[in-house]
Amino acid sequence: MNRNLLGAAAALLIAGSLTSSAVAADKLKVGFIYLGPVGDLGWTYQHELARQALVKELGDKIETTFLENVPEGPDAERAVEQLVRAGNKLIFTTSFGYMDPTLKVAKKYPNVHFEHCSGYKRDNNMATYSARWYQGRYIQGEIAAKMSKAGVLGYIGSFPIPEVVSGINATMIGAQTINPNIKVKIIWVNSWFDPGKEADAAKALLDQGADIIMQHTDSPAAMQIASERGKLAFGQDSEMIKFGPKSQLTSILDTWAPYYIERVKAELDGTWKSGDVWGGLETKMFEMAPYTNMPDDVKKMAEDTQAAITAGKLHPFKCPVVGQDGKEVECKGGDHLEDGQILGMNFYVKGIDDKLPGK
C-alpha cells in the first residue's frame, strides 16, 4: 500500500515540478522509470549511473527526468503516462514488470518512443534491451565449483522468472564442468529488494552447509553476511566488494551507459528504430568485476572462460543441455540453445535437486 501511494505521490510531485519550471523547448526530454531507490547500490543504482553518464555526454542537448520507487504493475502505467504528458519523447522503463504497462502507454502515444529493459513484448515505438547475464553466471559457476570446499552452493533467487532460472542453470552448467557432483540450494525470497530477508536467506543457506553465496536480488545484505561468517560470495548488478572485501569473488556489473547514449543519439538524429538488443560480454552490456579472493589458477581459468565467451567460442548453453528429467532439451540454435529458449527458460537442468516453483 505504501509503495502505491508513494508512486502516485512521486508522480504528482514530478508533474508539479515539471509544469512549474520553464523548460527550453528545443531540448530532447528523456524519462526513466526506476524500480527501487537510486541509492539501492544494485539494479536501480546502475541505471542511475548510466543516466548520469548520459547527461555528462549529451547534457547540452537533452533533459532527463527519473521516477524512482515505482512499483511494478498497474501503477507503473500512471507513472509512464505522467512522463509522456510531461513531454518526454524517449522513455526508458527499467524493470521486467513494467512490460505490459509500457506497452499499453506505447499504444496510446505512437509518437513517443519507449525502451523497455528485459522484457519480450515490442511495438513500432517500443524497443527492448537486456544483457546476457547468463554468460557471467556460467563463469561464476566455474569459480564457485573451484572454490567450494563443501561442494554446495547457496543461491538466493528473487522471483522464478526465466531470467533468474536461466542464471541458475548457467551457473550449474558452468559448475558441473569443474565438479560434476556439485549441489545447489536455492531459496526464493520473492522480492527484488528486502535487505533483511536477503540476509536471512543467506544465513539459512550457510547454516544448511552451503559455503558460497550467489544472489539474484539487489542489496548487498547477502554479501555482508558471507563476509561476517568468513565465506565467499558473488556480488550482483554492482560492485559490492566494499561489503565483503575478503568475500567477493567477482560481480556481474550492469553497464547500461553505452546503450543509453547510443539510443539517445539515434533519437536526436531521428534514426531511432524499434528493435531488440540483447548484448553480452562481447558488446559490454555487462562486465565482470575484478576476480578477487581466489588463487591465480582459478583467476586464470575465469579470465580464459570470459575471453572464450567474449570471442563467441564458448556458449554457456551449448548442446546437449539436459533437463532435470534426464531428457535432452531440443537444440534449436544449431550447436547451442536458441535465444528464445533461454529467454523463456522454465526448467532446471540436471543436477539441481529442487523443484522449480510452479512446475
Partner: protein
C-alpha cells in the same frame, strides 16, 4: 543441534524490529490514537541511527539518534492529528510517505558506508553452554531491550495508575476528559513513545541486522508491526507471541526452501501472513464478549472549552 540454534538466532533477530515497533504502536493505540506512520518513523529512525553511528562510531549514540528522530516524526503527527484534529488515518499515511522520502534525503550521504554491527553479549562460560547459552546469553542488546520493553509496558498499562488513565483515554475520551484528565496531552506522550519505539526498531536494522543503510530498507516491516497490534488484540503478552510467530514462520520457510522441500516458494512466502490471518480468526472465535480494540481508537477528540 547447531542448525536449531542457528534457526532460533535468526528468528530472534528477524522478530526484534517487529516487536519494538509494535510495542510502541500498542501504547499509542491504547491511548486511542491510530498512527499509520510507523513505517515512515522506522525508516527515518534507520537513516538517523546509521548516520549517528557512522559519524560517532557508537552504536548507542546511533540508537539514540534513531529514537530521537522517531520522536520528532511522531511530534509532527501529534501536531496534525491531535493539535489540529486532522483525520488520523490520512495523517499517518502521509507521515509514512513523508518519512520514506525524508530518509532517502538524510541517508543519501551514508549509502555505501559500513559500520561494525552491535556487539553480541558474551558472558564467559555461560554463553558457551550448548544451545541455550548462546540463545539466552548471546544476543545483541536490542533483543533484550525489546523484551524488557514489553514487560515494562505491561507493568505500566496494568499495574500503574498512569497506565489505567492512558487506557481510559483510549476507551472513552469524553469520560476521561470529564474526570479532568488532559486527554490530548496523554495521547501526545503515548504517540511520542510510539515514535521512540518505531525509531528504535528502525535503528535495529542498520545497527544490528544488516549493518548498512539503503533507502527503503524497512521493506514494509512497519506495516507488519501495525498488523501485529491487531493480532495481539492490544495485549503486550500476545505481541511477543505474534512477533516471534511471524519471525519463526518467515525464517522456517527460508530453511524449508533451502532443504528442498517441494512446496512452491510463493506459497511459502505467504505463510507468515497466512499464519497471522488464521490466528486472528481463532482468537476472534475464542473471544467472548465484544471487541478488544480500544473503543475510542482512531477517533478525533476536541475538548469543549
Amino acid at each position: 543441534m547447531e542448525l536449531t540454534e542457528a534457526i532460533i538466532l535468526s528468528v530472534l533477530a528477524a522478530s526484534t524490529p517487529l516487536l519494538l515497533a509494535a510495542t510502541g504502536e500498542l501504547v499509542a493505540e491504547r491511548s486511542g490514537v491510530l498512527n499509520l506512520g510507523v513505517e515512515g518513523m522506522m525508516i527515518v529512525g534507520a537513516a538517523c541511527a546509521f548516520g549517528g553511528a557512522w559519524l560517532t562510531g557508537s552504536i548507542i549514540i546511533g540508537a539514540l539518534c534513531g529514537m530521537f528522530a522517531g520522536v520528532l516524526m511522531s511530534l509532527l503527527f501529534a501536531a496534525m492529528a491531535l493539535g489540529l484534529a486532522v483525520n488520523q488515518v490520512a495523517t499517518g499515511l502521509a507521515l509514512t510517505i513523508f518519512g520514506v522520502g525524508l530518509s532517502g534525503l538524510i541517508g543519501a550521504r551514508f549509502v555505501g558506508e559500513r559500520i561494525t554491527p552491535a556487539p553480541h553479549l558474551h558472558i564467559p562460560y555461560v554463553s558457551d553452554i550448548p544451545l541455550i547459552g548462546h540463545i539466552l546469553f548471546g544476543e545483541d542488546g536490542f533483543v533484550y531491550l525489546s523484551l524488557a520493553l514489553v514487560v515494562a509496558v505491561w507493568w505500566f498499562l496494568y499495574r500503574m495508575r498512569a497506565g489505567l488513565i492512558l487506557r481510559a483515554c483510549g476507551d472513552n475520551h469524553v469520560s476521561a476528559h470529564a474526570l479532568g484528565y488532559p486527554v490530548l496531552k496523554i495521547r501526545m506522550y503515548a504517540v511520542m513513545f510510539g515514535g521512540a519505539c518505531a525509531g528504535l526498531a528502525g535503528a535495529y536494522l542498520p545497527l544490528a541486522y544488516t549493518p548498512f543503510f539503503i533507502p527503503g530498507m524497512t521493506a514494509g516491516r512497519g506495516w507488519i508491526a501495525l498488523a501485529l497490534t491487531v493480532f495481539a488484540s492490544w495485549l503486550p503478552g500476545r505481541l511477543v507471541i505474534g512477533a516471534y510467530l511471524f519471525g519463526a514462520v518467515t525464517i522456517l520457510q527460508l530453511h524449508a526452501q533451502g532443504a528442498g522441500i517441494g512446496i512452491p516458494s510463493q506459497f511459502m512466502s505467504s505463510l507468515p501472513y497466512l499464519a497471522t490471518v488464521i490466528v486472528l480468526v481463532l482468537l476472534s472465535r475464542a473471544r467472548t464478549g465484544g471487541s478488544t480494540a480500544p473503543a475510542a481508537l482512531g477517533t478525533v477528540f476536541v475538548p469543549d472549552r
